[in-house]
Subunit: 312 residues, 2 copies
């Protein structure tokens, strides 16, 4: 069945779009079209020839499923046309993530929410996905009460052009950066990490303090996490819970490079934080283009398709 | 007077040793000798010709002041000879940092402790120096109760050879790393950051949980810090206290590159951490070779020399 699904990848020439095309091919989907801005129309990506993503193309009714990896403004403009044309949409921008009634889904954490869609499911921020995967089993066992997280985010999270820029930067001239919109108090990336993780975990009041930092690494995000729980949780228990959780692989000290090309979130360095009654620290790494974006979106779509198949 | 002091820089060919020579020249010290391993003897560093650092050379009695930027084992072996020869020693290794009776000094924080020396003052870890400078005014005003810190440490902290390696790495192939000794629970760098900051601030029981990470940046360390205080402290008050403190410059969002060549610790992103009753978050950057090492050591030495001048 899967191979019959007619799929559109909007933003096909971007860093996440390209990985989406690769992963769809690997998974045996053969009716895949690549769409992008007029500027990229005609470009070849493997055996896909890029078409212009116009409202009319998306509304034509010949797409069953549409992945959007474009900017928030473009998603707001184009997604409704794809939905109107009858496509199921997984949107990777932040346009719909916090909208009431639109599920924000990490399949391993709240996959059932994808079934409640009304045409659109939102794919979370690349740091909120691995964070919620690592926190979920600990919350289920002991009740999360506080989270602090600092990130080490690769430039691929800022798009294909920034990857080219880093490749062109003389070695050793890399710097840290905070290249997000600032609201006077924090970066919107930090707000997203907090508000989206709360929505995914269904803990609307969970205190989450985030410091987001871009590092001169091409692919792979990492996060240093401190968490506190209601009930005590030993380091061994936490290790066992995370080791048994779906979508996670335990590693001693995971780095971005270890995570590249890997589907799972790598979690390690689980240890006690003596500063809290029930405090733990951990470190995680994820392939931000795969599980942090393209793979998670495809997994969401597969839940939506399964549901459609059952309903049909 | 200063220019008459006979100074030896042991480990002169290393990343910190070279900066030490530069800073001494800038500050008008003219009787400066560079010492290093036999392998480097004869090498020219500006107008300094490197001599071999042997026990006999150091014990000869013709040095008033000696900076050691060598490994811990070499410091343990050679420092006693320099002290025996009558030199005041500032040691930048971790050999003496936690030893009872040996001051561990950040001049802006506990400079008076340098006067209690019995020949040796230890220069702290490159991350403990800026952390204690940023925390000190907040502690004095409101009483620190907890600290959590994740680091973004440049490769120059691991030495000149690692700087060459990063320069030779193809652009975009940088990765995060944790290249310190691991004790089964944490890296020795994390233990140092906790135990040394406690000694400098004279808060032996302060809970400090650290996650240390090497980033592919040449020079400049950064730290994401969460802190809690006994008394409430507004963001504005914290900003004022840090802005008025010695050795600090307030910046909006400091990065390692901003800090390179700068004497001060750059502190920014001061904001509330809603997860704690009296919680704040901040971000700092420092030139790890200057204030994180060479400059701090010279400032220590200048306190020791002043005292000697008064005593004489």
């Amino acid at each position: 069945m899967a191979s019959d699904v007619r799929i559109g990848v909007v933003g096909a020439t971007g860093a996440v779009g390209r990985i989406t095309l690769d992963l769809l091919r690997e998974r045996g989907y053969s009716h895949v079209r690549g769409l992008a801005s007029a500027r990229s129309a005609g470009k070849k990506l493997g055996d896909v020839i890029v078409e212009e993503a116009t409202p009319a193309t998306l509304a034509a009714g010949d797409l069953d499923l549409c992945f959007f990896s474009v900017g928030t403004a473009t998603s707001r403009e184009l997604v409704p046309h794809a939905v109107g044309g009858g496509a199921l949409v997984v949107d990777k921008s932040s346009a719909y993530r916090l909208q009431e009634g639109i599920p924000l889904v990490v399949p391993e954490v709240n996959g059932h929410r994808a079934l409640e869609h009304q045409g659109i499911v939102a794919n979370p921020n690349c740091c909120a996905i691995p964070l919620s995967i690592a926190l979920k089993p600990l919350h289920d066992a002991a009740g999360l009460t506080k989270v602090r997280v600092s990130t080490y985010q690769s430039v691929s999270g800022a798009g294909a052009r920034r990857m080219e820029e880093l490749r062109a930067t003389p070695s050793g001239e890399g710097n840290l950066g905070m290249d997000w919109d600032f609201d006077g108090e924090e970066y919107d990336e930090e707000t997203k990490l907090r508000t989206e993780t709360r929505k995914i975990l269904e803990l609307p009041d969970l205190p989450i303090s985030a410091t987001c930092v871009r590092v001169p690494v091409l692919i792979g995000h990492a996060e240093a996490v401190w968490l506190e729980t209601e009930a005590p949780l030993s380091v061994d228990d936490a290790r066992g819970l995370i080791g048994d959780a779906p979508g996670v692989r335990l590693e001693e000290a995971p780095t971005p490079r270890d995570a590249v090309g890997i589907d799972e979130v790598l979690v390690g360095r689980i240890r006690r934080d003596e500063g809290a009654r029930n405090g733990l620290a951990l470190f995680l790494a994820v392939d931000n283009l795969r599980k942090g974006a393209a793979l998670n979106a495809i997994q969401i779509a597969e839940i939506m398709l399964e549901r459609r198949a059952v309903a049909a």
